[in-house]
Symmetry: C2
Subunit: 411 residues, 2 copies
């Protein structure tokens, strides 16, 4: 567990080293230049964290060739020298920019409206920000630029991800010790959550998109795995309440049927994503076979992870293998099918690239991708593994979720 | 713990009784009528849950005098008779409305654009929805109407809140048994989280506003309580990682200093909010006195809870009491001060009314309000209680968070 001295005394708005911050800013500036955007205002927590190493309540003003400016509402105690301005409301920003000579007083023209995160800010907040700059409507959308920048991790980000993977692996290795006879899926999940938190898991499960919700993860066993959920995750489950209808539903774990565990790997602000299967007494042979198929798909896809490879090729190959084996009806679900076999991970669980049939993403070195070829077999449940891989100059991808891939007996 | 039969077999899109749904719809229709809005499209998960009793991925189309229509993307297995339409994308909605005679084919005019939740939907999603109806920009904002409707709970909602309060109380009563010598704030919090989950806590902590984040709650002890956070909560704390800088930071619990516990009360989709203080060995007299003051403020404010009372009067009274006692420098924080002493709770933790100096809210019977008069005393920490109250026709408010209010010794 991290100790208090590690952060409570740090009052600088930027916790990244200057070099590391510049590497991240350069990615964003390159994206802005390609889109002909000269200025931008960053507000989304995940993006603030990316560009400073901390979450604060406020904005970063970006303009290539100038140092970033920080407009901070909270905490009121942060430092940042000349580049930090404490504000009470977003309307304060324009006046400060004029004072700093970064905006001309008559610049109440559409030209001066910085790009903002139109996929993350609410309509009301986006329009309010545009009005700060004298426009009735926002100009360019910054969200795709940040999403693209964040999809290629720096070495420091990769280290944070490797650390999350190691600690998540520590927890998964202990899962057999958490089982007690007669347990339900949700009871096992609560034990895994508890041990995850003791290992240092931050709990927070950041997801892009207001309609996506999940608490700590998903543990599925038996038929519940075939209950479709409202969310765009790979797997469903009914959940224990209709206010959050996903995941474990109180099914008692039974001999023969797989228990699929996919629980929060956020130990560093960066999340790894790992799924493993467990069982009591014995595992149905159909489930064992599907698990082996999932492992084979992961291996084959990891071997295809070369910069320049279209993301859709990985999906197509996974699907082709499932079809060759006559498993297409169960691939990525049964009553309802997920439309992807993998996704980028990092500060949020659903980053780029997306490994899907119509994805236009192309793999790049530094992408971090969770592959989760999973099967839902009626009467048996969900089976498969998930690993998180770093795309390197040469294949295969570096796997950073290292718990044994075999199904593990709990009793 | 709820059992699986409770929800997995329920496939109706509406889980509320027809009467209960109508009561909620009537509140929304009244708000629409007052704002001259004839049609609306609901998308936000909290509002979908309010109007159907479940979360799904999709939209509800509202028009006074007609039954609601449900446009569902996921789960694909939901039933709803003639009123439910499975869609693949929002663009499918307009064609179905035309087919149903609810929209004329040439109604690609601004008149036909339904009100949407502009405070909850992203700018990109809001504009995309407006385009479905042939407009470049959204029309009216549905968010304030739903917020007002949800601020006055139905009897069924009040029952869900009472149940959450009872179960949260069960957990708080067990906190002394969770303490072990030498524990840190975060270690105690993890035990409380674990026992909360075993008691049936759903975990999910719904907050309105994209810049608000919290995992399961906040346990503060000692000086950490005086570290301002980026979030608009009553209390701060440094947290254990700069990606989520709020709450417990690993401070070891010491004799004399209060441990303030404010942990997730979401057991039913509706959340109660309760804070209690604990200590080991003994409690500093300054802390005991501040705790008594907090209790007194709660009692006095509960006695003011009569329909028709301006919310700001409660804030003003709380502040006046703090000033009379010479505690204004510590009231609602010390280095940083929260701007409110209470807030509505329900499906989300930050509902109406807001008990703040410039609040224009007026109390109504059926409001559910968390009062949290808290003090941060330098060198000692955070002290105070929080209770959730139902506003009834006659004062005082009904307290539904019933753990003993006195500071409790952990050892």
């Amino acid at each position: 567990m991290k100790m208090k001295e590690s952060i409570s005394s740090r009052l600088d708005v930027v916790l990244l080293s200057a070099d590391e911050q510049q590497r991240r800013l350069d990615r964003v500036y390159a994206g802005m230049a390609a889109a002909n955007i000269s200025t931008a205002l960053v507000r989304d927590n995940a993006n603030l964290y990316y560009l400073t190493g901390r979450v604060f309540r406020g904005y970063i003003y970006l303009e290539a060739g100038h140092a970033p400016l920080y407009f901070v509402r909270q905490p009121t105690t942060l430092h940042g020298g000349d580049s930090l301005h404490h504000i009470r409301k977003p309307e304060d920003i324009a006046g400060i920019l004029v004072e700093q000579g970064r905006l001309t007083a008559e610049a109440s023209s559409a030209h001066a409206v910085p790009a903002i995160e139109l996929d993350a800010l609410s309509y009301s907040d986006a329009v309010r920000l545009a009005r700060v700059f004298g426009s009735d409507a926002p100009a360019a959308n910054l969200s795709p630029i940040l999403r693209a920048a964040r999809s290629v991790k720096t070495d420091e980000e990769l280290q944070a991800l490797r650390e999350s993977g190691m600690r998540q692996t520590n927890v998964y290795r202990r899962i057999p010790r958490m089982y007690r006879e007669g347990m339900s899926d949700i009871e096992l999940q609560i034990e895994i959550e508890y041990h995850s938190r003791l290992e240092g898991c931050l709990g927070q499960f950041r997801i892009a998109g207001a309609d996506m919700e999940l608490f700590m993860g998903n543990v599925l066993t038996g038929e519940n795995a075939d209950t479709p959920s409202p969310y765009d995750f790979a797997m469903g489950g009914a959940g224990i309440d209709p206010s959050l209808p996903v995941g474990a539903d109180g099914t008692i774990i039974k001999p023969g049927l797989p228990v699929m565990v996919d629980v929060n790997g956020n130990y560093t602000g960066y999340m790894t994503d790992m799924t493993r299967c467990y069982y009591i007494t014995s595992l149905e042979s159909k489930a064992s076979e599907a698990l082996e198929l999932s492992r084979r798909i992961c291996r084959e896809l990891a071997a295809m992870m070369i910069p320049g490879t279209p993301a859709k090729d990985l999906y197509d190959r996974a699907r082709a293998i499932a079809e060759e084996e006559g498993m297409e009806d169960y691939f990525m679900g049964h009553r309802s099918h997920a439309g992807f076999v993998g996704h980028g991970v990092g500060i949020e669980i659903n980053e780029l690239p997306v490994i899907a049939p119509r994805s236009r993403d192309v793999l790049r070195a530094g992408n971090v991708i969770a592959l989760e070829p999973k099967f839902v077999i009626p009467g048996i449940g969900a089976v498969g593994i998930e690993n998180t891989y770093i795309v390197r100059p040469e294949a295969p991808g570096e796997c950073i979720t290292l718990a044994p891939e075999e199904a593990v007996c709990l009793n």
